[in-house]
Amino acid sequence: MSIALEADRLTKTYGAVRALDEFSIAIPAGGVFGVLGPNGAGKSTLFRIALGLVRPTSGSARLFGTAPGDITALRKVGAMIETPRYPPYLTARDTLTMLALESGAKTADVGGWLERVSLTHAADRATSGFSVGMKQRLGLAAAFLTKPELVILDEPTSGMDPAGIQEIRALIVDLAKREGVTVILASHQLDEVKRVCDRVAILSRGKVVAEGGVAELTAGEARLRLTLTSPLAPALAVLGDRGEADGSDAVLADIPRAEAPAVIRALVEAGAEIVEARWREVDLEGVYLKSLGQTPTATTVEGAA
């Protein structure tokens, strides 16, 4: 499997601030890869280094095996970094034409892309009068315009209305699947990442704190909730460090699914009277919060054991 973006012990400091700290990742080509993290986690810095906007303090980044800023890699990449800005005197059509020329791409595709992001009606208006959502749409068109192999999107739906968000999400998934474009997407919106991404990396303070498929990450975090009619103490004694009381009549067990029958058997043998056993799966937000050292709260999904 080829690697689209690779970072090896990447560090970037801005004065006393360490935006990336010995950061390493290998993002495979194909599919949609989500980068999650709070403000200041290092998402934008990672993208800026990958695109040659910023030089790392130490370590290295490679796009398709070449150094950032290399023309062969740049020709394979489209990007939208943070809220896009445009020369205010250019219309939307002129902006895309200028960017196509800069990339050595066909300017004939400009009209088609304006249509795909629903900006045909504003094609000949100066971008200075555009709303944030319109600027985001134009940024997406600019990112995909040159038919890149990899598209890097930093908060692509920020500032957009709900209908626009759905439309853009569908467009991203469609392009990733139908045209085989690899998309790396940074977002604060966990719901967006869950719906759009195949794999996710969670960043905190310039490091990767969790990485994997969305299902894989959440499945690993499932806990077994056992409701008992007997006192909790014997059950907690059996579970040891892996168990905790959940209210007065239930215990939560951090155990792999494969061990559940054996654990339940041991609990019954210890005198526990179990009236219900359910898997309590932590969703992406729970994984995210736990990765950041915060407590997952009410956003759990329950399922029968």
Binding site: L53, L74, Y89
Partner: protein, 275 residues
């Protein structure tokens, strides 16, 4: 590719009407209006016929071209150059361009387009000065001659090339200052200041020196350009300085190349965290 960067910048500049007008058309238009205004003043305010007066078309054009990179001309050229070279810091649009071409190509593309715009601006100056001479002759009845100073029309090409090179030294300086200051205003002020100081220094040093110009004097692009124009138009009046024309040309080329290289090196190393 550099050709892509040039095409994109050219496309962009042609749509930036404000920069085109103020940077590259305003000074030639002012020159034209002042010339015609002067003739109208003579004709309708002074109201004295001027029989026997003559105007040389080539002389007028050469004068206009020689003034093309004067402090006044440079002010407007630098306004245009600043918008092209440092506008992306102002609009925070480097993030849009940098992932599409190499840093070197992006900056060289901009400089190339500034060079084109300066060339067309100088040509506009030349054309409007010739037109002003013809309009002036119609207003005041002046006789129009090819040249009153016995100048060759091909001298226009030489003066155009020298003034263009002089302006490009300033444009390359503008590229350096643009990268360092990340400010269009910084470019205009710094380049104009350098242009003005050079003029003062060149005048003062020449007045103090005897014989051929010193290396210090020859290191001033403004002096080099003046020396080259004089060597082209009136070589017999140069005296001891005549032998330094070749050095002056090399100095101008060296300044343009060194400043361009410095701008590219600085830009390639620059973090564009917040443009």
């Amino acid at each position: 590719m550099l050709a892509d960067a040039i095409a994109a910048e050219r496309f962009r500049l042609l749509r930036d009407r404000s920069t085109l007008f103020w940077g590259f058309c305003f000074a030639p238009l002012v020159g034209f209006l002042l010339n015609v205004g002067g003739d109208l003043f003579l004709r309708f305010v002074i109201k004295k016929p001027m029989p026997g007066l003559a105007v040389g078309l080539v002389d007028q054009v050469i004068k206009a071209l020689s003034d093309g990179a004067s402090t006044f001309g440079a002010l407007f050229l630098m306004i245009g150059a600043a918008a092209v070279l440092a506008g992306d810091y102002r609009w925070e649009t480097w993030r849009l361009l940098t992932p599409r071409n190499t840093r070197q190509n992006l900056l060289l593309g901009k400089l190339f387009v500034v060079g084109e715009a300066v060339f067309w601006s100088l040509l506009l100056s030349a054309a409007l000065s010739a037109l002003a001479a013809l309009v002036g002759s119609a207003i005041n009845g002046k006789t129009v001659a090819l040249s009153l100073l016995d100048r060759n029309p091909f001298d226009i090409v030489g003066v155009l090339a020298i003034t263009w090179l002089e302006a490009m030294v300033l444009a390359a300086l503008a590229a350096c200052v643009g990268v360092l200051s990340r400010s269009t205003m910084g470019v205009v002020i710094a380049c104009l200041g350098v242009r003005f100081v050079q003029t003062i220094l060149a005048g003062a040093m020449r007045a103090m020196e005897q014989g051929p110009p010193s290396w210090k004097l020859l290191s001033l692009p403004v002096f080099d350009a003046d020396l080259l124009r004089a060597a082209l138009l009136a070589p017999d009046q140069l005296g001891d300085a005549g032998g330094s024309a070749g050095v002056a040309l090399v100095a101008l080329l060296a300044w343009a190349a060194a400043l361009t290289a410095a701008a590219v090196v600085l830009f390639r190393r620059q973090d564009l965290t917040k443009e």
